[in-house]
């Protein structure tokens, strides 16, 4: 990667700020890279669950990224996965014990998903794709950005699921019976019947899909206005990929199609010839058999 190459949102590649925004927006792990789906779907039944899970993951992600970057020249390539697991698991144990001691309610609520942070594919993905190839400081900020991107995404998912499925927002009743909103508006809000499917598994998929659709629509609109979105989605560690002008891509595609058609026609002819030959051969073989 050359120094002049620009990273996410026009920042210089591999600076702390670039890494931070890359993880938060451009390569948001949940909405763009679509990794770490297991906790995304499982623990987002409420906003507070999402927030806690996100922060715990961010802590592990940032520190494990930093440590792995530090050790990257020591760890032999063949055993890097076990080595990553050891590093990540140490931090997860740390988080687990701290949460058990200071926020036992959240510890109970998140249950098995806290130890499962060890195998969260965001952490593994970043260790493998970024931290094992870059310096400590950018790796640390990559972890912070990715972690906060994950936190934001799952908190928003949790917020919607909680609001639609239970009428509450951070455990404050907004819609439905017992609403905190006073007056006439409160009366109408009180009539709301929570759609329970949204705090069950199926609802998680619906909310996540809608959020991804919105994200894609925003991107599409920006492209339509002629803004440069080439840094969207393929910034950062994927920026080695050559970024093409959409019009050129279209032309190239058309040219390719044309070429493919010509090749196809040629092939068909060749196949025809072959079948003719085969038939002839078969006939000959048949004649021989008869003989």
């Amino acid at each position: 990667m050359s120094e002049e190459k620009k990273g996410a949102l026009g920042f210089k590649q591999d600076t702390p700020a670039e890494r931070f925004f890359n993880g938060l927006i451009v390569e948001n792990p949940t909405l763009v890279l679509m990794i770490g789906m297991c906790p995304t779907l499982a623990v987002t039944t409420s906003a507070i669950n999402g927030l806690t899970m996100g922060l715990a993951t961010t802590f592990v992600l940032a520190l494990s990224n930093a440590v792995i970057a530090l050790l990257r020249k020591v760890i032999p390539d063949t055993v890097r996965i076990p080595a990553f697991i050891v590093v990540i698991a140490s931090f997860v144990t740390l988080v687990q014990l701290v949460m058990q001691a200071y926020v036992p309610v959240m510890y109970e609520a998140l249950g098995v998903y806290i130890p499962l942070i060890v195998v969260n594919c965001i952490i593994f993905g970043r260790a493998e794709a970024y931290a094992s190839k870059h310096d400590v400081i950018p790796s640390f900020f990559d972890g912070v950005g990715m972690g906060l991107g994950f936190t934001c995404a799952i908190t928003v998912i949790g917020l919607f699921r909680e609001l639609i499925g239970g009428g509450t927002m951070f455990d404050v009743q907004i819609f439905g019976e017992g609403t905190v909103v006073p007056g006439a508006i409160g009366y109408f809000f009180g009539l709301y019947q929570p759609i329970r499917i949204f705090i069950q598994q199926a609802g998680a998929f619906i909310v996540l899909a809608v959020l991804i659709a919105i994200m894609n629509q925003v991107k599409f609109n920006m492209e339509k206005k002629g803004k440069d979105t080439s840094k969207f989605g393929v910034g950062g560690c994927c920026s080695d990929v050559e970024i093409k002008d959409p019009h050129k891509v279209k032309e190239e595609l058309l040219a390719k199609e044309k070429a493919a058609k010509i090749i196809k026609a040629d092939k068909e002819e060749a196949i025809k010839e072959e079948t003719v030959k085969e038939n002839e051969a078969k006939e000959k073989a048949g004649e021989e058999d008869e003989k």
């Binding site: 019947q193 929570p194 759609i195 499917i197 949204f198 199926a202």
Partner: protein, 316 residues
Amino acid sequence: MSDMMKVSSNPHVRSSVTTSNIMMWVVIALLPAAGFGVYNFGVDALIILILSVISTVLTEFCYEKFMHKKITIGDFSAVVTGLLLGMNLPSTAPWWLPVLGGIFAILVVKMLFGGLGQNFMNPALGARCFLIISFPALMTNFVTDTYTSATPLTALKNGEEVVVIDMITGKIPGTIGETSMIAIVLGACILIMLGIIDLKIPGSYIVSFVIFIILFGGHGFNGTYISAQLAGGGLMLGAFFMATDYVTCPITVKGKYIYGIILGILTGIFRVFGSSSEGVSYAIIIGNLLVPLIEKFTLPRAFGIRPAGRKEENKA
């Protein structure tokens, strides 16, 4: 040059059967059961049916208008969805239940996947399951003659006596369209005679369900129990009108039998071993999801093509 020599690309034979035609006949075939529901449960039922049809048609119209797509409400498929959804709701449902269900059926289950022909599950059933998971109390609040009561299937599951003849005529509590076996079969006969549906799926569904009930129902070959299981709940409505939905059932002949048998077994499992007394809608939805797999395995072999993996047979 005669007309016989005219060269054109296929199709060469056209039939007068169109989507809107078929859907219209399905609506007509559903009317006896819907009519009986209105007779049985009163004006409430009529309002729910109308609301759910309006909400499905309006949702489809608004979505297509908003997305600048071709308006397809003329093909009556939204009306069928709305009518089926309404018939799957209890008559005591509040007004917003059919409206919400209709929006979900069309918007999420049908249009977001590409509209008619692209939906992976039956929209009406998808919406019914959405509602029953979200509002279990409202969806199982059944009434006859203004008395709140359990459906005969629930009574049967609890080991109480049921009157089978009432279950066949339909003077029982239940959702609007499922109670009368006679009215449903009457409608189904119209569709079968017109060739719109055939007996492959409903037949294999019902037969495999009966066999399952005899084997695992715990009552053996008990005529009353079996006929009560057949006439109760949404089995008839599901077998004839929802399992046979063109979009979400297999197109291969073998696949249709397999699909029917899967539905029968699933319904049996849900009814006998499940916590709820009813299981037709979940069975059909799971069946819908299995359709691509069933079709893949029952694809007929094209003439002259050797199945992959088989070695070339010795010519001598």
